[in-house]
C-alpha cells in the first residue's frame, strides 16, 4: 500500500477497499448527530466500499452501507488500518 499506516486523514482519502479506524468528526451538531446515530463514533472500523474520486462514496460501518456526499465524508477523520 502506497500510503503509510497510522497517519490521520479524511474519509475521502481512503481508496476503495481500504480499512480505517475513525478518529474524530468535525462539522455542525446536526451533521454530527446524524452520523453518530448511524454508527460513526470514534474508534469504529470503517471500510471504503466505493470511492470513485468524485461523487458520493459508500462506506461500510457497523455492517451497514452508508452513502455519503463528499462534503460530509470530508468531515470524518480516520486512521488507515490494514486489519
Amino acid at each position: 500500500m502506497a500510503k503509510p499506516n497510522g497517519m490521520d486523514c479524511s474519509l475521502i482519502d481512503l481508496q476503495t477497499g481500504e480499512h480505517a479506524l475513525m478518529v474524530d468528526m468535525r462539522g455542525g451538531k446536526g451533521l454530527v448527530g446524524r452520523l453518530t446515530s448511524l454508527g460513526f463514533t470514534p474508534g469504529v472500523e470503517l471500510t471504503m466500499i466505493q470511492n470513485m474520486g468524485r461523487g458520493p462514496l459508500i462506506v461500510l460501518v457497523r455492517d451497514t452501507r452508508i452513502a455519503l456526499g463528499r462534503g460530509e465524508a470530508a468531515q470524518i477523520l480516520v486512521k488507515r488500518n490494514d486489519r
Binding site: V32, G33, T64, A67, G71
Partner: protein, 680 residues
Amino acid sequence: MKEIAQDFVPIATAKTINEHKTPLIALAGQPNMGKSTLFNLLTGLNQHVGNWSGKTVERREGTFALNGQTVRLVDLPGTYSLTANSPEEVIAREFILREQPDVVVALVSAANLERSLYLVAELISLPSPLIVALNMLDVAEQEGLRIDVEILQAALGVPVVPLVATRAQGVQELLNVIRNVLNGETVLMPRLPEIRADHRQALREISHLISGYVPDPYPTEWVALKLLEGDSELTQLMQRQLPEEVEQAVHNILIQHDDALMAVASGRYEWIGRIIRAAVERPPIGQISLTEKLDRWAAHPFWGLILLGLVLGVVFWVTFSIGSPIQEWLTTHGIGGLASWVSAALQNAPAWTRSLVVDGILGGVGSVLTFLPILAIFFGAFGLLEDVGYMARAAYVMDNFMHLMGLHGKSFLPLFLGFGCNVPAVMGSRVIDSEKSRLLTILVTPFIPCTARLAVVAFIAAAFFGRYATVVSLGYVVLSIVVLFLSGIFLNRLIFKGERSAFIMEMPLYHIPNWRTVGLLVWQRSLAFIQKAGTTILSFSIVLWVLTVLPNGKLESSYLALFGHWIEPIGNLMGLDWRLTVALLSSFVAKENAIATLGIVLGSGEGTALAQTLIAAYSHASALAFLAATMLFVPCAATVAVMRQETGSWKWTFLNISFMLIVSFAFSGAIYWIATSLEV
C-alpha cells in the same frame, strides 16, 4: 451500570394499566426494520393513515383484538435515534413521552443488531415498558448469524421476541408477551446504558441544576442527557425554562464537554458491543455478499446509470403496453357505457342534470379514473423497485446530477414517480431529509410529464404528425426534462443561493420483494389518487361545467367562452385561438381534459372525428405551440392541492404556479414564432 439506572424510575412495575382505557401500543424502530409490515399484519384494514399534526410525516394508527380486548396500535416513524435531528425523531419521542403508551415494541433487525440496537439504547431509558422484537431472523440465518435470545433478553432486562414479520412467524408469541406486560405478569428490569466515565459527573451536575425546572412530561435525567447531546429542541426549551444564572451554569458545563455528543453515542455503542459479543455468533467473514456483487454494477457511476436507464425503459414499456389498452377500453366501454346508461336513466330528468352528470362529472372525474390502471401498474413497478432495495441505488447514482439543480439524490424518487402522476410525486418528496431540497423538488416536480399529459401529447401528435408522432412526443418529454433541469438551477440560485444539502443515506441490503408490502403501496397510492379525483377534481369539474352552461346553456356564449375570447389576445401570441386557450385552461382541472374540452368546443366529439377537425382547423405551428403549453402549463388542481399541503404555504404554491405559467407561455410562444418563421 448503576449510576444512571438509579435515577430513572424502574418503569414497568410502577405502571398499572388503566382498566377503562383502551391499551395503547407503539411500534418503534429504525427505518426499514419491518414496523409497517408488522403493523399491517396486526391491524389489517383496521387502520387509518393520516398526518402527524402540523407535520408532513405519515401517521398510521389502527386497532386489533388482543384476547378479545381492543388495543390501539401506532406505527411510529422510523428514526435512527431520538435526538432532534429531524421531525420524525421529535414525533417519535414526543409521542412516547406524552401519550405514554402502555407498551413500546421496538423492532430491531437480527441481521444488523448492532446498528438497530442503538435506538433501543435510547428507548429503554424512557418511561414506557419496552419489548424488543427481533425481526428479520430469516435474513440473519441466511447470513449465518446465530443469536442467543436468552442472553440478549438477560442483557437488556426486557423481553425479546424472535420474529419474521413478512412470514407472520412469531407474532403469536409477541402478542402473548405484550399481554403479559400489559397485565403486569411480566416485570421488566431494564438495564440501561451509561455514558463514558469522563462525562458522568457533568451529567449529574446538569441534572441537579435543572431539576425542578423541567416541564412535564419530560424526565429530568433524560433532558440532562439530551442537553449534553446538544439536542436543538430541548436546548431551546430549557433556555425558556431556566432562570438566567442556572442557564449560565448549565451552559458552562456544556462548553467544557462539547464532545459529549460523541461520548454519549460511544457509550451506547459500548453497551451494545458488550451485549452483541455475548449474544451473537458470527460466521467467519469471507464470502462476498449478494448485495456487494449487485452493487458493483448498480452503484457504479457509469454502469449504474446505464442500468437505471434500462430499468426506467422497462418500467415505462410495461406500464404503457399493458396499461394503455386497458385505459382505452375503460374510456370507450367503461365511461362511455356508463354515460349512455346514465343518459338513458335520466331521460325524464331535466336536461341540465343529465348534462351535469354526463359532461361534468363523468367527463371530468370519470376520464381521470380511466388512468387508474396505468397508474396502478406504474405504482406496482415503482413499489417493487423500492421494496427490493434498488431505489437507494438509483438515488445514489443520480446524486451528482441532482445536486447540479440543488436537489438531492433522493429527489430522483419523487421525480420518477411523477411520470405516473404528480400528486403522489409531490407527497413522495417526504423521503428527502433536507428541507431545502425537498421544497425545491416539490417546485420542479410538476414539470415531469405525467401519464395524463402524455396522453394529450400522444393524441395531438398523432393527429398532426402521423408517423413522426412518436418522435414529436419524445421531443416534448425531453423538452420538459430540460426545462425542469434549467428551472431547478434557476430556482436554486434565486431562492436558495445555491447552498448544498447534505447527502447521507443508508443503502439497504437487496432482498426478495414482499408482495403484501408492494400491494399495499399500490393500494394506498391509488387510493390517494381516487380520493383526489373524488374531491378536488370533482368540485373543479362541476365548476367548469357550470361555466360552460351559464348563462344560457350554449357553450359558444358561455362564461367560459367569454373568458376565452377575453384572453384570446394572449393565446394569439402562441398561435392559440380561444378554443385552444379554453382547452389549455380546462387542463387545470385535470390534464387530459384538454382533449375532452376540444371535443366540446369544436363540436366534434372525440377520437378520429376530433383529430380530423383539428387538422382542418389549425396549423402545425399552432399544434406545436399548444403541445408545449400543455406540457409546461400550471399543475393540475389536485397537484396544486397537495403542493399546498406538503409545503404548508400558499406562497410556494403560487410561486410555482406563476413560474410555470411564465415558462409555458415563453416556450410555446417561442416555439410558435420559430415554427411560423420556418413555415412548418
